[in-house]
């Protein structure tokens, strides 16, 4: 088996002082320096550049994209190393940045196939009638309910949609704009039909399983649907607050631009590249392999950044797309932060709970419950056979070990996009939960292979030939996600998406408006509203806030 992701050379040059006298020259003064070339940083830069600002993006790694990245880890096999599907990329961003012209192509990822241990399966596809027949095979009542459910969820998604592109108001301030925004939300809720109010309240507060229990009786259907509610959280399918994420599956549909789930041709890195292209065209400069050591702060004001090599770059505004721990604790330094804000940042929960296993395959897996290389392999393959299975996977994580039988969300992008693997070969992306960042026993560096084996063994229970097909294996633990991709504690959303860390509480109470206590320092990553996933909304919202404040200068 090939070596795994090597420990990164990621270092913060803490010895380089932010107080050093700047070697200022006209050529390195920018309007905005964007920290991090992930998709949000790039979206942020693109919007700022389009507004005529002089923008520089600095990326630590040799490749752009952050967690939305394609890398040829093994010769001939291109992995979407971290993030692997597109679902929530805001249509206004696709439109405004004209991403298709810059090479973005979304390919359909049709359906979810859930193999079951008893030899049965559940296979939902975009074809409505087919899915209905399939669900009816398990329960006639559920087939009826599925239609109703879809309609109700689309209504709910309509309600939630404008909140995504809104700057969260501060509910404790008497600022009239904030009050109007709150009133707007209240009125919107009030105007919902009674039935939708009921659903909305339930979605915001209930567990995914409790919510689905009201609609469906088929256990595997509830298990596989509820799985979307726990992705990237340290919660189980029965934890309150997980129902809300069920909506995300319907967000894409109402946008009409593309199917709710899709693959990007060339891997998720192609999305980042398209955005980068749009940013460059608008005049932004982008530099890779440029780790930042410090944000220069003087008199409570951000002035620029110091690179790891000691170079200083000055800017009117610093916009950080990396998470708050890196931005504030490492790059700014606690000494520059108000005590309360620092305390809030320390309370902000990351707690990564997932890992990733990428496989290079010599052929296609053969599932016991539905043999052959059928179209069921072209969609998502979800290892979520029962609610109890999902809940037990969570129980392991609660007590500090990775799930002995994890939830796995698998896609084989090479079936849809042959460009990512040599002819006849395939790449298989396995998102794995739970893999808690903090292990009770042992360390991730020692457990990496054991974790990889658990994932492969779990898949082999459903598709026994998988073990013979594996040519190469890349295992990413939460620790790897932290080291290699700068995601603190390996959280793929730059902080848990739980109710107490959403909207006006993200990432810190009172600092949900992309601004920070350091003047001219902004946040534009997933740690801000509306949060993670390849959505781009944080980057765009952050840019809007920066431009608004530029206007006030």
């Amino acid at each position: 088996m090939d070596p795994i992701v090597t420990a990164s050379d990621y270092k913060y040059a803490s010895e380089s002082s932010a107080n050093a006298i700047p070697k200022q020259s006209m050529s390195n003064k920018y309007d905005v320096v964007v920290i991090g070339g992930g998709h949000n940083g790039l979206v942020n830069a693109a919007y700022l550049a389009r507004a005529g600002k002089r923008v520089l993006v600095l990326e630590r790694r040799h490749v752009l994209g952050g967690a939305a990245v394609t890398e040829e880890v093994f010769s001939g096999f291109k992995f979407s190393v971290c993030s692997y599907v597109v679902s929530l990329l805001r249509p206004e961003i696709i439109r405004e940045l004209d991403l298709p012209r810059h090479g973005l192509e979304i390919l359909p990822l049709d359906g979810t196939f859930t193999p079951m241990p008893g030899g049965d399966y559940l296979w939902r596809v975009n074809d409505h009638a087919k899915t209905r027949r399939e669900i009816a095979r398990h329960s006639k009542l559920d087939a009826e309910a599925y239609d109703e459910y879809g309609k109700a969820m689309i209504e709910m998604a309509h309600f939630v949609k404008p909140i995504m592109s809104m700057t969260p108001p501060d509910p404790t301030s008497l600022n009239p704009k904030g009050l109007m925004d709150l009133l707007f939300l209240g009125r919107r809720f009030q105007r919902l039909p009674a039935e939708d109010k009921y659903n909305q309240v339930q979605l915001m507060t209930m567990s995914a399983v409790d919510f689905l229990d009201q609609w469906f009786e088929t256990d595997v259907l509830k298990a596989t649907m509820s799985a979307s509610g726990i992705i990237g959280t340290f919660l189980g399918v029965r934890s309150p607050g997980t129902a809300y994420v069920l909506l995300h599956h319907y967000m894409g549909e109402i946008d009409g631009a593309f199917r709710s789930w899709g693959l990007s041709r060339g891997g998720t890195g192609a999305i980042s590249n398209a955005i980068a292209d749009a940013a460059r065209e608008a005049g932004a400069q982008i530099r890779t392999s440029c780790p930042i050591a410090k944000i220069i702060v003087k008199n409570g004001q951000a002035k620029g950044v110091v690179l790891a090599n000691g170079d200083e770059i000055f800017a009117n505004v610093v916009s950080s797309s990396v998470d708050p721990r890196l931005t504030f604790m490492k790059m700014v330094g606690e000494e520059h932060l108000p005590g309360d804000f620092a305390d809030d940042l320390k309370r902000y929960k990351y707690r990564g709970s997932s890992g990733k296993v990428n496989l290079a395959l010599d052929g296609l897996p053969d599932f016991k419950s539905l043999p052959g290389a059928g179209p069921h392999l072209r969609g998502a393959i979800s290892i979520s056979p029962s609610v109890e299975y999902m809940e037990r996977a969570y129980d392991d994580a609660k007590y500090g070990r990775f799930s002995r039988r994890p939830y796995i969300d698998i896609v084989i992008p090479s079936l849809t996009d042959p460009s990512v693997a040599p002819p006849g070969k395939h790449v298989m992306s396995c998102f794995v939960q739970y893999a808690p960042y903090n292990l009770k026993e042992g360390a991730w560096d020692e457990k990496r292979e054991e974790f990889g084996d658990t994932v492969v063994d779990t898949i082999a229970e459903h598709a026994p030939n998988i073990k013979d097909l594996i040519l190469h294996r890349q295992v990413l633990t939460p620790l790897d996600l932290e080291r290699e991709f700068g995601l603190s504690e390996g959280n793929i959303f730059q902080g848990e998406l739980t109710l107490e860390q959403l909207f006006f509480l993200r990432p810190a109470p009172g600092w949900a408006q992309y601004r920070t206590p350091i003047r001219n320092l902004y946040m534009c990553g997933s740690a801000t509203h509306p949060g993670g996933g390849i959505m781009g909304a944080s980057g765009r919202n952050g840019a809007m806030q920066i431009l608004k404040d530029f206007g006030k200068r």
Binding site: P171, T172, L174, F189, Q190, A194, E195, K197, Y198, V201, Q202, M204, T205, M206, D210, D213, Q214, L235, R238, S239, P240, G241, T242, D340, R347, K349, E388, E391, D395, K398, Y399, T498, L499, E500, F504, L505, P509, G510
Partner: protein, 525 residues
């Protein structure tokens, strides 16, 4: 002809009856059992031993109700021990929470300087937030559809009070509501037993573990009730039954007629309006309005013909979550058990509040794990009182009664049924407790095990849920029991709810009864 029939003589039914009679309405209370009190009763456990069969502490009862109904004159005597909660630990490091924060802090000093520093601010913050939330308890939840001017005024006042909290507490309130209580306590304290003991209030009566999101709301609710995040220790001389007896006396004095041993079979409905009830004996009683103190599921799914309800409403009512997870074990003891955790010092005074068994967060969560899969906890979380310590009238000289509230005991068992597993469950409880009180078994004179099924069958609690339904965010305040029906009125004209299945929910507070009576009186005017 009666103006009002109240179904169920639990404490909320009695509180409502008092207020309604005082407003001049001719009120009849019908209680299925031979004694009134519902889940707040004192019953004979064994010759010479009396015990609060179910609830073992007041919530507390709202002071306004105590005053309005002159309950002291009717014999109510509240006992308030200095210590609120004693959390036992197997290694001897027990934790005490007192009513007095300074005293708690000074005791904590022995365990952790950090926690001793944190505790006073923790309690103060909860007290401040509790004061802002307290008016909510006495408020009829607003309609969301078309709030009336008065409702908007009340909400406006609340909004101002919220802003008055200042940024720090205001954001705390917003953050804490949806948070897992395990996270909340970890932000404040480092001592596991202290964390677990505070967190326990968040899962009390809930089908949730400390890692379940939203469990911090339980602490906020407790703070709204009496300013503390920890469970209250407020006993009644003569047991909890003495409280409901005082209420019954107040009711009778106000002119309420109370009949016991009569079970309502159905609510009579004509033209979508309640016109009275029919008893299981066949007797029909008419009234201008019917008020149900029974839980929502019993009321709508058992006492009303489905034909009289909208199918949509019925579906929602069936989905109202009320699967209980609590049980009770009551013991008559020949003497006070020896607890090594107390190091022999001042046993009696130190045990006079609640006794918490659940030494760490993982213990509580493991206890909950079992319930998720349909088993009772092999090592349950327990909330214990020994009321005879502060009220010797409950047991013979030197002997004691011990009331053990046990979680988790899921109503739906995966294997077997509750009637065949009752004693096995009782043994599990005693064995677990014996780890903390090694001589307990030798002292047991009599043991009563009350399973969730008993709670349903004997006390009429649907699903055995002691709160008349889960008190999760989606079933609270304006959503209790259902959104659109949180104002004590129902889709049937002249039919009201006044039990714990309405705002402000479970616990012996009298809140639902008092709030419901206010709405009913409004409608009668």
């Amino acid at each position: 002809m009666h103006d009002i029939i109240i179904i169920g003589g639990g404490h909320n039914g009695l509180v409502a009856a008092c207020y309604l009679a005082k407003a001049g309405l001719k009120t009849l209370v019908l209680e299925r059992r031979e004694i009134v009190g519902g889940a707040a009763v004192t019953e004979k456990l064994h010759p010479g031993f009396r015990c609060s069969t179910l609830a073992h502490s007041a919530g507390p009862l709202s002071p306004r109700i105590t005053k309005d109904l002159q309950l002291k004159r009717h014999g109510l005597e509240i006992i308030r021990p200095e210590v609120r909660v004693t959390a036992l630990n197997r290694d001897g490091h027990s934790i005490w929470i007192y009513n007095d924060a300074a005293r708690t802090a000074s005791e904590l000093q022995k365990v952790s300087a950090h926690d001793a520093r944190s505790y006073p601010e923790f309690e103060k913050s909860f007290a401040r937030i509790g004061r802002v939330l307290a008016p909510l308890l006495q408020m009829t939840p607003p309609t969301i559809e078309k709030p009336a001017a008065g409702e908007l005024w009340n909400l406006g006042k609340l909004g101002l009070a919220f802003r008055g909290l200042g940024k720090k507490d205001a954001f705390r309130l917003l953050r804490w509501g949806p948070m897992a209580v395990a996270d909340l306590v970890a932000e404040w304290f480092e001592t596991e037993t202290l964390r677990a003991c505070i967190a326990a209030r968040g899962i009390f009566g809930a089908f949730a573990g400390p890692w379940s999101a939203g469990t911090s709301a339980g602490l906020l609710w407790q703070a709204a009730t009496d300013g503390h995040a920890a469970g209250p220790a407020l006993f009644v001389k003569g047991g909890m039954g003495a409280l409901t007896q005082a209420l019954a006396q107040a009711a009778r004095e106000a002119g309420v007629q109370i009949r016991t041993g009569v079970e309502v079979a159905a609510i009579k409905i004509n033209d979508n309006k309640a016109s009275g009830v029919v008893l299981t004996s066949g007797e029909a009683i008419s009234a201008r309005a019917v008020v149900s103190n029974a839980d929502p599921k019993t009321t709508f799914l058992k006492l009303i013909d489905p034909i009289d309800l909208d199918p949509d409403f019925l579906t929602k009512m069936r989905n109202y979550r009320s699967t209980g997870s609590a049980a009770k074990v009551n013991l008559a003891l020949a003497g006070l058990p020896t607890l090594p955790a107390l190091n022999g010092s001042g046993n009696a005074a130190k045990l006079s509040g609640r006794i918490h068994i659940g030494p760490d967060i993982d213990y509580l969560e493991h206890a909950f794990d079992a319930a998720k899969y349909g088993n009772f906890s092999p090592q349950p979380y327990m909330d214990i009182t020994i009321p005879s310590l502060s009220d010797p009238s409950l047991a013979p000289q030197g002997a004691h009664v011990m009331s053990i509230y046990v979680q988790f005991a899921p109503y739906n068992l995966k294997d077997g049924d509750w009637n065949s597993r009752r004693e096995e469950f009782g043994d599990t409880v005693i064995n677990t407790l014996s780890d903390y009180a090694p001589n307990l078994k030798e002292l047991i004179v009599a043991r009563q095990v009350i399973t969730p099924l008993d709670l349903e069958q004997t006390y009429g609690l649907s699903g055995g849920h002691i709160m008349h339904g889960e008190q999760s965010l989606d079933q609270m305040f304006a959503f209790r029991p259902l959104i659109g029906w949180a104002q004590y009125r129902t889709p049937i004209g002249g039919l009201y709810l006044c039990g714990a299945g309405t705002h402000p929910g479970g616990g012996v507070t009298g809140g639902p009864g008092a709030n419901a009576s206010r709405e009913i009186i409004k409608d009668f005017k």
